[in-house]
């Protein structure tokens, strides 16, 4: 049974200075940073750019450490699905260790992390319009 993954929704680029890495990619590749998000209480700073259907998510701590050179790495990717609860159930039926779907930082979206069986690639599933935007937790 297919999980109904339609495309790569976003690719995570993890950086110790996500603002600097996002700016570097934006300038060098000529891509526009569409959204900047700092989440109080979660200790993260994220910036987002989009190349056709795929979002590049630059994720890092809220502030870079002083004197530290920016260092980044590919931090996995997220597959878009139409029905995340059905996809999670289908994966579990195949013996895949996948977490429960929970609200994502994207308003109205739910996300579930896959914890093993991905050949070393951090992978998750996301469904947009999974919940009413009003039900999202504060700060998301």
């Amino acid at each position: 049974m297919s999980i109904g993954a339609t495309h790569i929704d976003h690719i995570v680029i993890a950086s110790n200075d996500s603002a600097a890495t996002a700016k570097l990619f934006s300038v060098n590749l000529g891509i526009e940073i569409k959204r900047v998000m700092s989440r109080p209480g979660t200790g993260s700073h994220m910036e987002f750019a989009k190349l056709q259907e795929v979002v590049l998510e630059f994720a890092g701590p809220p502030q870079p450490k002083e004197g530290e050179e920016p260092r980044a790495r590919l931090g996995g990717f997220v597959l878009a699905v139409d029905d995340i609860d059905a996809a999670v159930a289908a994966l579990r039926a195949k013996g895949v260790d996948v977490g429960d779907a929970h609200p994502a930082v994207q308003p109205g979206a739910k996300i579930a992390g896959i914890r093993a069986g991905t050949h070393g690639v951090p992978l998750a599933l996301i469904q947009y319009n999974a919940t009413p935007v009003d039900s999202q937790p504060a700060g998301s």
């Binding site: 060098n28 190349l51 597959l79 070393g120």
Partner: protein, 128 residues
């Protein structure tokens, strides 16, 4: 410089057949049998699996030399490279060099950005 899309995500694996079987079984993706194979000059074999408008490229080292083998030795399996499709790879290289970015000469429509110029991310530019 005109970027078009994320062309593919390169994933280094120990056993390419096992990886294809996993991603097919778990996610329902199908390998594109018309592409990939042994690339002796690079010491790898690869296979492609379309996902939407992009591909997953599975890469298995076939020698103990080269960047893929080094990645496998140091980190095992995992996400190795991000490939970005550009309209004109020669123009893209000229553009990047004009910005002071270290980037290799284009070869067969492909050029690699130095990881020293990308905060350590392995970036490939490709013209299809």
């Amino acid at each position: 410089m005109k970027t078009r899309k994320i062309d593919h995500v390169g994933i280094v694996v120990k056993d390419i057949d096992a990886a294809l079987a996993t991603f097919s079984r778990h996610f329902g993706f199908q390998a594109d049998g018309s592409r990939g194979g042994e690339v002796a000059a690079l010491g790898i074999k690869n296979a492609f699996m379309p996902v939407g408008e992009s591909d997953l490229e599975f890469i298995q080292p076939t020698s103990d030399q080269g960047p893929v083998a080094k990645f496998a030795q140091e980190r095992g399996e995992g996400q190795f490279m991000l490939s970005i499709a550009v309209e004109d790879v020669t123009a893209a290289v000229e553009h990047l060099r004009g910005l002071g970015v270290r980037v290799g000469d284009p070869s067969n429509g492909v050029a690699f950005v130095s990881m020293k110029s990308s905060h350590g991310v392995n970036l490939q530019l490709i013209q299809r």
